[in-house]
């Protein structure tokens, strides 16, 4: 099994708050890794260290090692723009930009210098197809992205990430703001995308983790309690806290 992303003895502090403690977690290539745990346990924080979105928060300090294909992404001369191109992110609340559907998807390629109209059209089409949205929007690419439904908006956000050609997709509770049918479509989509992409998904929904992930990691109060094959973790958890959490005794 090949590891694409990996954290080793990762510690993160928000000013004085020690939010992540000695996390060591390899992310296998082409698989879906789910991060579960009660609110405030550090799973979203951990996700954001993987594409350095925590850089934007004042007072954050990171110690330890995060590597992408063996390279330390926190090295001083590491190219953050390149990192975010390779490691895309989908947020909890759909956040399409207030512009047309086309421009939303073309936004990323344009950042990275793609100006050719024909090429942009091809990227937009293939990305929307990749996100299973093409058939619904192909006749109204010039309409505002804000006119789409919540579920469509989230798939648009996925298409927007696919358009820059990432290798890893980070998803921060991508379905928590959606209705069950839209959630189902996103889950189907994740099923389709895995293999081609490595996916790390934070979820509050343990059934969801069970349905879509190959591996699951359980976070609790800034510690990574245990991780492993999803089936193993759910059926025979090694730690009492994991068992309590997945059986719904707390959280």
């Amino acid at each position: 099994m090949e590891t694409i992303l990996s954290a080793e003895k990762l510690n993160l502090y928000y000013s004085d708050n020690h939010a992540l403690k000695d996390i060591t977690l390899p992310v296998p290539k082409g698989q879906v890794t789910a991060l579960i745990g009660p609110s405030g346990c550090g799973k979203s924080t951990f996700l954001k260290t993987l594409n350095r979105m925590n850089d934007l928060v004042d007072g954050v300090r990171v110690a330890g090692l995060v590597t992408l294909d063996g390279e330390d992404i926190y090295a001083p001369d590491y190219d953050v723009v390149g990192l975010r191109k390779r490691v895309g992110m989908v947020f909890q609340k759909p956040n399409p930009f207030p512009m047309s559907i086309f421009d939303n998807v073309a936004y990323g390629p344009r950042i990275h210098g793609q100006r050719d109209k024909k090429a942009l059209r091809e990227i937009v089409e293939s990305s929307l197809k990749g996100a299973a949205l093409w058939d619904e929007v192909k006749d109204r690419l010039n309409k505002s992205a804000l006119s789409l439904s919540g579920g469509q908006q989230q798939r648009l956000c996925i298409a927007r990430v696919l358009a820059v050609g990432p290798e890893v997709l980070l998803m921060d509770e991508p379905t928590s703001a959606l209705d069950p049918i839209s959630t189902q479509r996103i889950e189907d989509l994740i099923e389709e995308l895995k293999g081609r992409y490595t996916i790390v998904i934070v979820t509050h929904n343990m059934q969801q983790a069970g349905r879509i992930s190959d591996r699951t990691a359980f976070f609790y109060r800034g510690d990574l309690i245990e991780w492993g094959e999803t089936d193993t973790l759910f059926q025979t958890p090694a730690d009492k806290r994991t068992e309590d959490y997945i059986t719904g005794r707390f959280g």
Binding site: L56, D58, G88, N95, F97, P98, G108, I111, S144, R160
Partner: protein
Amino acid sequence: MKARKVTDGLVKVFVWLCAGITAALLIWILVYIMSRGLPHVTWEYLTSKFGGDDHGIYPMIVSTLCLVGLTLLFAAPVGVFAAVYLVEYAKPGKLVNVIRFATECLSGIPSILFGLFGFIFFVQICNFKFSLLSGALTLALMVLPTIIRTTEEVLKTVPVSYKEGSLALGANKLYTLFRITLPSALPGVLTALILSIGRIVGETAAVFLTAGMVYRVPKSIFSSGRTLAVHLYAIANEGFSFDECFATAAVLVVLVLLINFAADLAGKLLIRRLGGGQPN
């Protein structure tokens, strides 16, 4: 039950009355000015010069438009980017608070003081003489606080999730600013500019102390010029003809409306070009 109903009714009447009075006042003033002024506004009045036998206001219209344009040319970029600095770049702390306090104080200073400052600094020390340039620089200082404060407020309302989305796709801060933040803030910035236009067009004291009162068509930004408001002030002072005053006032009102519509339209076109679709 009954008492409550009566109170309810009374409050409703009171609220309606207040709203009605406000609307009625505006309509009354507008109708009054228009009905007394418009009959005297002829094509000749709008296009001929002033002085001698001529009583036209062509030079004043030109001066007013030039002054508005020139002032915004100075004030808009400085104001908008000052706000961008305060919201997006500056670390919250003492310096930002001092700047914010200073802008607030600045907006409370009576315009005649700006006029005196402009007269001493731009007209005399910088030696720009009485000119549109001196006037515009003075007015720019005067409207800067409005532009900065309003833009700041709008920038703060741009959702963080837009910026996050952009940065997560690999955009840097500057790209995000020009492609996401500013276009989203544009309607608000436009409101700030329209408010500023209102102040520029309506200003008298600060203008005649810096741009002068010469009623010729300005040849360049170094020429002196008389704006419509200053003209209105001057002829009302002379007290020759109230018809002329009202005619000028009517033109002033129409001009303000036209400028506002134009600014609004320009903004909408700009938004469409920068941002693409509107909701629905």
